[in-house]
C-alpha cells in the first residue's frame, strides 16, 4: 500500500543567462528562482496495482519516484509505503522495493552480469536458496541464458535492460518502480520487457509503478493512469475512463488544395503539412458533418478520413487541456 499526502518539493535554481559577463556577475550576485518540482502530490496505490505515471518532461515524474524510493526528502507532506516512511526508514524500506532507472545502470560495467548479481545478493542478504530460485526464474522469463556470463559493457541496450530488471528483482521486492524502462529499446526488446512486467504483476502480485513517455507501454501495461503536470496530479483514472472523457472526440485527416482552413469553436488544428492537415473535432460543440461542411466550403478536399483518438493523441490533448 502506497500513500502519498501533500508531498511538496522545491528546488532552488540559480538563474543565469549566457555570456562571459553574466558568468562573472553570477559570481557575486546570484539570482535564484524556485522551481516547484512537486506541489502537493497526493495519491494512493493499492497492493498488486499496476499504475502508469505520465506527464511531459520536467513535470515531476522522476521526483515522485525518487521520493517514494527514499532518495529525495520532500520539503513537506507525508508518504507511507507498507507502514514505512521512505526517507526516515530508508534501510528497511529499500528492502521492499526494486527500482529500475532506464537511463542508468546498476550493473558493474567491467564484470560478467552474474558477478553483479552475486554482489547484489550479498548487499540485500538474500539467502542462497532464494537467490538461486529467483535467478533461475528470472533468467528463464527474461531469456538471459548466456548474457549472464557477458560483461555488462558488451551487452546491447535491450539485453542490458533485461539484466537490469532481473537485478532489481533478485530480492523479491513487493513494489517495483520503473523509470522509463523501454527508453531506447527496439521493438522486440520493448515487447519482451512489457510481457515480463505484465506476467510479474499477474503471477506474483507485484505492485508496479511505471513512468514512461511511450504510449504503447501505457496501453499494454497500465490499468490505471496518473497524469502529473507542473508538480500536480491532474488526473487519476483508468485508460478507459480517460478515453471516455474525451469521448467522441474525432480526428479528421484532410488532404486538400487551395484556400485556408476554417477556424471555429470545437475544431482544433493538430498538425498541418503541405496540403495535409489533422484536426480534432469536439462533437459536444460541433458535429462532424458540420465540420466537414465547413471544411469543404473553404478548401478543395481531395481525401478525408475520420478516426477516434488513439492513446498518443489522447495524451497530447490532455497536455494541451491542462496547459502543461
Amino acid at each position: 500500500m502506497i500513500e502519498l499526502a501533500n508531498i511538496s518539493k522545491t528546488f532552488k535554481v540559480a538563474k543565469r543567462t549566457g555570456g562571459f559577463g553574466e558568468a562573472v556577475k553570477s559570481l557575486f550576485r546570484r539570482e535564484v528562482t524556485y522551481v516547484h518540482a512537486l506541489d502537493g502530490v497526493s495519491f494512493t496505490v493499492g497492493d498488486g496495482e499496476m499504475v502508469g505515471y505520465i506527464g511531459p518532461n520536467g513535470a515531476g515524474k522522476s521526483s515522485t519516484v525518487k521520493v517514494m524510493s527514499g532518495i529525495l526528502t520532500p520539503d513537506s507532506g507525508e508518504c507511507v509505503i507498507d507502514g514505512l516512511c521512505p526517507w526516515k526508514d530508508r534501510k528497511a524500506h529499500v528492502k521492499n522495493i526494486g527500482v529500475v532507472f532506464g537511463q542508468r545502470s546498476q550493473l558493474w560495467w567491467d564484470v560478467p552480469v552474474i558477478d553483479s548479481f552475486e554482489l547484489i545478493r550479498d548487499i540485500y542478504a538474500v539467502p542462497e536458496a532464494v537467490y538461486l530460485r529467483n535467478r533461475n526464474r528470472l533468467a528463464e522469463m527474461l531469456d538471459l541464458g548466456e548474457l549472464l556470463k557477458t560483461p555488462a559493457r558488451q551487452l546491447s541496450l535491450g539485453q542490458r535492460m533485461r539484466c537490469e530488471i532481473a537485478a532489481s528483482l533478485l530480492h523479491d521486492p513487493k513494489i517495483l518502480f520503473l523509470d522509463e524502462p523501454t527508453i531506447g529499446l527496439d521493438a522486440v526488446s520493448k515487447i519482451a520487457v512489457r510481457d515480463f512486467i505484465r506476467e510479474l504483476n499477474r503471477d506474483r502480485k507485484t505492485t508496479v509503478i511505471l513512468t514512461t513517455h511511450d504510449m504503447q507501454d501505457i496501453e499494454a501495461l497500465a490499468e490505471r493512469i496518473l497524469l502529473i503536470g507542473k508538480g500536480r496530479i491532474l488526473l487519476d483514472g483508468t485508460l478507459e475512463q480517460l478515453k471516455h472523457r474525451n469521448t467522441g472526440e474525432k480526428k479528421l485527416t484532410v488532404e486538400y488544395t487551395g484556400g485556408t482552413l476554417p477556424t471555429m469553436d470545437g475544431l482544433t488544428l493538430l498538425h498541418r503539412q503541405s496540403g495535409r492537415a489533422e484536426l480534432s473535432v469536439d462533437p459536444g460543440i460541433l458535429s462532424v458533418s458540420d465540420a466537414i461542411a465547413a471544411l469543404s466550403g473553404q478548401v478543395e478536399i481531395t481525401d478525408l478520413s475520420v478516426q477516434g483518438m488513439d492513446t498518443e493523441e489522447l495524451v497530447v490533448s490532455l497536455y494541451r487541456e491542462f496547459r502543461i
Binding site: G70, V99, W108, D122, I123
Partner: protein, 258 residues
C-alpha cells in the same frame, strides 16, 4: 566485512580487464613519491638538520604521513571522486541499497594502483628506522601503528568533509585539496618547522599534528610525557564535526534530473 571482500573481488576482476594500465599507474605513483623522497634527501645532505631534527628523524615523519595518506587513499578513494558520483546519479543507486552510504562509497572505488605509494612509504620506514638511533621498544612500535592508523582515519575524514561540500556546490571545492594533498606535502617535515602559528592550526583546526607531530616527539625521545601517546586518539574528536557535516549534506541531497 564479508561484503567488503565481495566488493574487493569485483574491483579486482574489473582491474584484470585493464592490466597494462594498472601496472603503468602503479609505477607512475611510485616514481612521483620517490622524487619527493629524493627532495628531502638532497636537502638534508646539505643542511644535515631541519629545525633540530636529523635526516632519519625527518624521514620518520615523512613515512608516517605518506603511509597514512596512501592507506586512506586506498580505502576511502571513493570520497575523492565523490562529486562525480553525485553528478552522474550514482549516489541515487547508493541510497537505494539497504547498507550505510558511507560504506558503499568506500567500497565503490578502490585504487589498487596506490600500492606504489604504499610501497614507497614502507621503504622510507625501512630507511628511517635503519639509519636512526631510536630505541625501539614494543610500546613505541604500538604507538607508531596507532599513529599510522589514526592518520589514515584523519585523511579519510578529510575526504568525507570534501565530499560533503560537494552536496552544496555541484563541483567539489578545490579548497579541500589544500588540506588533503597539502596536508600530505606539509607532513613531509615535522609540523613545528613551519612555526608556532601553523603548529597551532594543525593542532586545533585540522588536527594533523595529533598523529604526526606530538606522538613522534615521544618516539624520538624528545619528550618523556606519556600523554603524548594519547594524542592520536584526539582524531576521534575530529570525527564528530565531520559526521555532522556529512549528515547535513545527505539531507541536502537533491539528485539529478533523468
Amino acid at each position: 566485512m564479508k561484503l567488503y571482500f565481495r566488493y574487493f573481488s569485483i574491483h579486482l576482476k574489473s582491474l584484470m580487464q585493464y592490466k597494462a594500465s594498472f601496472l603503468l599507474l602503479t609505477v607512475g605513483q611510485f616514481i612521483t613519491s620517490f622524487s619527493a623522497f629524493l627532495g628531502i634527501y638532497f636537502l638534508m645532505s646539505r643542511f644535515h638538520t631541519v629545525n633540530g631534527f636529523a635526516l632519519h628523524e625527518v624521514l620518520l615523519f615523512f613515512a608516517v604521513t605518506l603511509m597514512a595518506f596512501s592507506l586512506a587513499e586506498c580505502f576511502a578513494r571513493g570520497f575523492d571522486v565523490f562529486p562525480s558520483m553525485l553528478g552522474n546519479g550514482e549516489f541515487d543507486r547508493i541510497l537505494l541499497r539497504p547498507i550505510h552510504p558511507v560504506f558503499q562509497v568506500i567500497a565503490s572505488k578502490m585504487e589498487f594502483s596506490r600500492v606504489g605509494r604504499l610501497l614507497q612509504a614502507v621503504l622510507t620506514f625501512a630507511l628511517a628506522i635503519g639509519g636512526g638511533e631510536v630505541q625501539w621498544r614494543w610500546d613505541k612500535i604500538l604507538l607508531l601503528v596507532l599513529m599510522i592508523f589514526s592518520g589514515a582515519v584523519f585523511f579519510a575524514a578529510l575526504f568525507v568533509v570534501g565530499a560533503s561540500f560537494s552536496f552544496f556546490s555541484t563541483e567539489g571545492l578545490e579548497v579541500m585539496n589544500i588540506f588533503t594533498d597539502g596536508g600530505r606535502e606539509f607532513g613531509r617535515y615535522p609540523l613545528s618547522v613551519y612555526g608556532k602559528e601553523m603548529l597551532r592550526f594543525y593542532t586545533f583546526i585540522v588536527p594533523m599534528a595529533l598523529f604526526q607531530y606530538y606522538p613522534m616527539l615521544y618516539i624520538l625521545g624528545r619528550s618523556e610525557n606519556p600523554w603524548l601517546c594519547a594524542a592520536p586518539l584526539g582524531i576521534l574528536v575530529f570525527l564528530l564535526p565531520v559526521s555532522l557535516v556529512w549528515k547535513l549534506g545527505v539531507r541536502h541531497y537533491r539528485s539529478t534530473g533523468s
